[in-house]
Amino acid sequence: MSVGSPWRSLRAVFATLRLIHILAAIVWVGGSIMAQFYARRLAAADPAHRLGFARDLRFVAAKVFVPSAFVVLGAGVWMVIDAPGFDFEDTFVVIGLSAVGVSLATALLYLIPGVGKAIGLMTSGRGPEAGVVIRRVNLAARAVIVVLLIAVWAMVVKP
């Protein structure tokens, strides 16, 4: 084994973690933004499409966005531990961790249960009440997107 091998191996681990971290962030943040664009089109939509979309959204949020968020968090923390240049006290790391924490908590405690409640109301024929719930959930989802965009800015610019 050459002298440079362990260093090369560390760099390879870091590069892999960075790729995983970025791919998961793209799926989570980009998907959340695009979901909002889809949701904006529902105001004049057929009730069956609204119900189908709400089911799709709950599936994506629970089975894709939340796992992606945990992958972003796990790979990010691993990179900070592994890379000599990064520290948990760095501003961009603090912003990133806070943003992931707030977004994940909001998704798990409010957004996903909210969409579930709206689906229940829609299937029991209480469309107007479901509309009120969906509007609140959308508002919270937009706030989460703003938080995530701040995190993206911090990761790119590293203030």
Binding site: L19, D46, A48
Partner: protein, 150 residues
């Protein structure tokens, strides 16, 4: 924030919307295979609308600021493998969007509206090509992040 940092932020934000949105649309398309006709129709119309108003502009913005960065940063060159892969993938995805997804989704909407049974097969083909498109974009992201050859 420096000029290059501004270019990089805009490039990254546009790429996030484009690639993340593509993955979301892919999941919606696969789920549409088991959905009601009304939901399929709504999704197809929404996706076609967003392709023209969000996906395509995001792709153009990502490409534009990527090119500006290559022009601005001395260490980057248009002959770098990772930049060739990035531009190649972007062009391939754009061609797929204009030559395949646009016309096929328009036909799908017409077939769903008239209850044409061919809609089922067309939706399945769109789902398969969407998977290929997402795979191309993942390769582009891999090239942009790992920068092979640099």
């Amino acid at each position: 924030m420096s000029l290059v940092e501004t270019y990089k932020l805009l490039h990254v934000l546009a790429a996030i919307v484009w690639v993340g949105g593509t993955v979301l649309a892919l999941i919606f398309t696969w789920r549409a295979l088991g959905a009601t006709r009304e939901h399929r129709l709504g999704l197809a119309a929404d996706t076609l609308f967003l392709a023209n108003r969000v996906f395509a502009p995001a792709a153009v913005i990502a490409a534009l600021f990527g090119i500006l960065m290559v022009l601005e940063v001395d260490a980057f060159s248009f002959s770098d493998i990772w930049i060739i892969l990035g531009i190649g993938g972007l062009l391939l995805s754009m061609v797929l969007g204009m030559a395949f997804f646009g016309p096929q989704t328009t036909r799908l909407i017409a077939e769903l509206t008239s209850n044409d049974p061919r809609a089922e097969g067309r939706l399945a083909i769109i789902a398969k090509v969407s998977t290929l498109d997402a795979a191309i974009l993942v390769v582009v992201v891999w090239a942009m992040v790992t920068k092979p050859g640099l």
